[in-house]
């Protein structure tokens, strides 16, 4: 069992030492590792609120909805008010992942039709009351796509001017593909999180989607590499995170290891980041949320597992 009582409670960020004067004949110098793990201070919110973030991937099944649920709840845990919009028009799942499926009575379609007000369609999470869910439509209804994208912009405007204050984050869970649902979801976004897995099918789609996002004017795109297996990377059966980055050329927001707890937490409708004790994937999501708040990116990645060094007193629990 770990204990960090002896560690200082100050800003836990490591910086590279001051760069020395460049030598006349530059020699290839190994890059200094700059650790980026954060844990014992409150993250500082960067950028203007509300930060409208779309979580997209292109390919289906890479973990967009899981990422939305976990990052959303992590942000809520870090003290920011969050509205998560499930913009997956045809196949919505975010409510299931959050365990809020029984509480969704109204959606954006009803708000547009005038069947309810926006505040009635927002579902507040009871675990973290600064987290709210908004579904865009019911599974069997059709979204009038003529103003689907505009409707999301109106929604963000309405959220900005509401009584309890503007939310810090509006997180949009984008559907797979680049169809009408994708176009609707990316319309109000200022920044994007691209979720990908380290396999070529997912990477090709991710590259395409990044291209579309850049064409649409969204410049702040960061990626989360999901379902990483350090053991397979070590055996060279899986692309490493750095390989993925080399192919896509995007800043890293997070690296999420493969974790069987993800399936369990999905089945339970209880996001991973709320697990006690936290799992590896949950911690990774928490760190990614932290970077999202500060508009930071990873400076070092976990490569492989190392055997734990045992101290002399480890026998006695040291």
């Amino acid at each position: 069992m770990l204990s960090l009582r002896f560690l200082p409670s100050t800003n836990f960020q490591f910086h590279t030492p001051k760069t020395p004067k460049p030598p006349r004949f530059p020699t290839p110098k190994p890059l200094a590792v700059r650790s980026v793990l954060q844990w014992n201070r409150k993250p500082e919110l960067a950028g203007e609120t509300p930060r409208v973030v779309v979580i997209t991937s292109g390919k289906g099944g890479v973990g967009k909805t899981t990422t939305t649920a976990n990052i959303g709840l992590s942000l809520a845990r870090l003290g920011f008010s969050v509205v998560a919009i499930d913009a997956d028009v045809g196949l919505r799942n975010l409510d299931l992942l959050l365990g809020l499926e029984n509480r969704v009575n109204y959606t954006v379609v009803e708000v547009l039709n005038g069947d309810c007000r926006l505040d009635q369609a927002l579902v507040r999470d009871k675990r973290w009351s600064n987290f709210e869910l908004l579904c865009i439509s019911k599974p069997r209804s059709k979204l009038p796509i003529g103003f689907g994208g505009k409707a999301l912009i109106w929604l963000v405007d309405a959220l900005k001017s509401r009584q309890e204050g503007c939310p810090d984050f509006v997180i949009i869970d984008c559907p797979a593909g680049i169809d009408a649902g994708f176009i609707t979801a990316i319309t109000p976004a200022n920044e994007a999180v691209l979720v990908t897995t380290p396999d070529i099918t997912s990477l090709r789609d991710a590259d395409r989607v990044t291209g579309l996002l850049e064409c649409d004017g969204i410049r702040d795109i960061k990626m989360i590499v999901n379902r990483v297996r350090t053991d397979m990377i070590k055996g060279e059966d899986m692309m490493s995170v750095l390989d993925v980055q080399e192919m896509l050329g995007l800043a890293l927001l997070g690296v999420i290891p493969e974790d069987s707890e993800v399936i369990r937490s999905t089945n339970r409708g209880y996001p991973l980041v709320l697990n006690k004790p936290p799992t590896l994937a949950g911690l990774a999501f928490e760190q990614a949320a932290w970077r999202l708040v500060e508009q930071d990116s990873m400076k070092a990645v976990m490569v492989e597992e190392e055997p734990k060094k045992k101290g002399f007193f480890s026998f006695f629990g040291g």
Binding site: G90, D115, R117, Q120, L143, G146, D179, G211, E214, Q245
Partner: protein, 334 residues
């Protein structure tokens, strides 16, 4: 019938000086009498005779009780053997001190039990704190609820390893530079040229003259979740989204239509007319459909209305209010 037993405690086994007689609480069948006989109390042959007599008595009674009752047997056996407490009481002055010691022991025990109960109430059994107290867990309970104090994340001293959830991972620096990022962006901008569609048309419609054909998205009539048609126009939808207080627009409109229907019905009842006016029924349809019906719209609007109608009434409308009850009746009408 009551039987009495006399047990003689012999002085040579080291018994107390004073004659001691103990009469246990009466049982229905047995009466047990213990008599400690001192050498000084009974003298000479009397003593010997009495002893023999009593011993014989005891033996017979023990034999009798063995047959009769095991409980009685054990009592008798205890009585026969010399008791240590009696030996301790040989010295007269120490009895008071022993009493104090015993009382103090009982007091300490009572205080200990009281404190234990009090402590148990504050730490429910089975909690992490309880496990720590019992030495099952090594550390104090971890605070996972607090995201700012995550004890499972630890960076190694050399800053090239990180320990998460008890596993150590080697770290490698990210090598992506700004230039590389820019190169990738350029590559993508060449590869994917795209304009976000802003106009959505049904397949087969003609493109309006002032619209860039690149920004048109064609939506087939059988698209699973998207439709180009809608019940309401854009301004109305925008107002609906912005509405913060009061009754939602459509609920209000339905309510007003029902009010008109009620008034009309009351007027009819006054005139005793039993004819249903077909033109009157059109008033109950939604008044906000402004644009003319397109051929595709029929099925979809029906579907949309069905979805909207299958909903439960809003909390603003109590279920027993006349408007709401009537509205459900009205909804069921074809």
């Amino acid at each position: 019938m009551t039987t009495s037993y006399l047990v003689v405690l012999r002085p040579e086994f080291g018994l107390c000086n004073a004659p001691f007689k103990w009469i246990p609480p009466q049982s229905p069948t047995l009466k047990f009498v213990l008599r400690a006989v001192d050498a000084s109390a009974i003298s000479g042959s009397d003593r010997r005779a009495a002893q023999d007599d009593d011993t014989a008595k005891t033996e017979t009674t023990i034999a009798a009780t063995t047959v009769k009752d095991p409980h009685g047997k054990s009592q008798a056996t205890v009585g026969v053997f010399p008791l240590v407490v009696f030996a301790m009481k040989r010295q007269e002055g120490s009895s008071f001190a022993i009493g104090i010691v015993i009382a103090a022991t009982f007091f300490v025990l009572a205080v200990r039990i009281y404190l234990g109960r009090k402590a148990r109430a504050s730490r429910p059994p089975g909690s992490v704190a309880d496990l720590v107290r019992r030495g099952q867990l090594r550390t104090r309970p971890l605070k996972y609820d607090d995201p700012f104090n995550n004890p499972l994340v630890k960076v190694g001293k050399s800053n090239s390893t990180v320990e998460m959830c008890g596993k150590v991972y080697r770290l490698a620096p990210v090598t992506l530079t700004e230039e590389q990022q820019a190169i990738h962006q350029k590559r993508r901008s060449r590869a994917y040229q795209w304009k976000r569609p802003t106009v959505f048309l049904k397949e087969g419609d003609s493109i309006p003259p002032d619209v860039d054909p690149d920004t048109v998205r064609w939506i087939p009539a059988n698209h699973p979740f998207a439709t180009t048609a809608s019940d309401i126009d854009e301004d109305l939808a925008q107002n609906n989204v912005r509405q913060k207080h009061g009754v939602p627009f459509r609920i209000q409109a339905e309510h007003e239509a029902l009010q008109r229907k009620l008034e009309a019905l009351q007027g009819e009842q006054k005139l005793n007319k039993l004819v249903i006016d077909s033109s009157n029924a059109k008033d109950f349809e939604r008044a906000f459909k402004s644009h003319p019906k397109s051929p595709e719209r029929g099925e979809e609007s029906l579907l949309n209305e069905h979805v909207a109608n299958s909903k439960a009434p809003l909390p603003e409308w109590p279920p027993n209010s006349s408007g709401s009850t009537l509205s459900s009746e009205e909804r069921q009408k074809p």
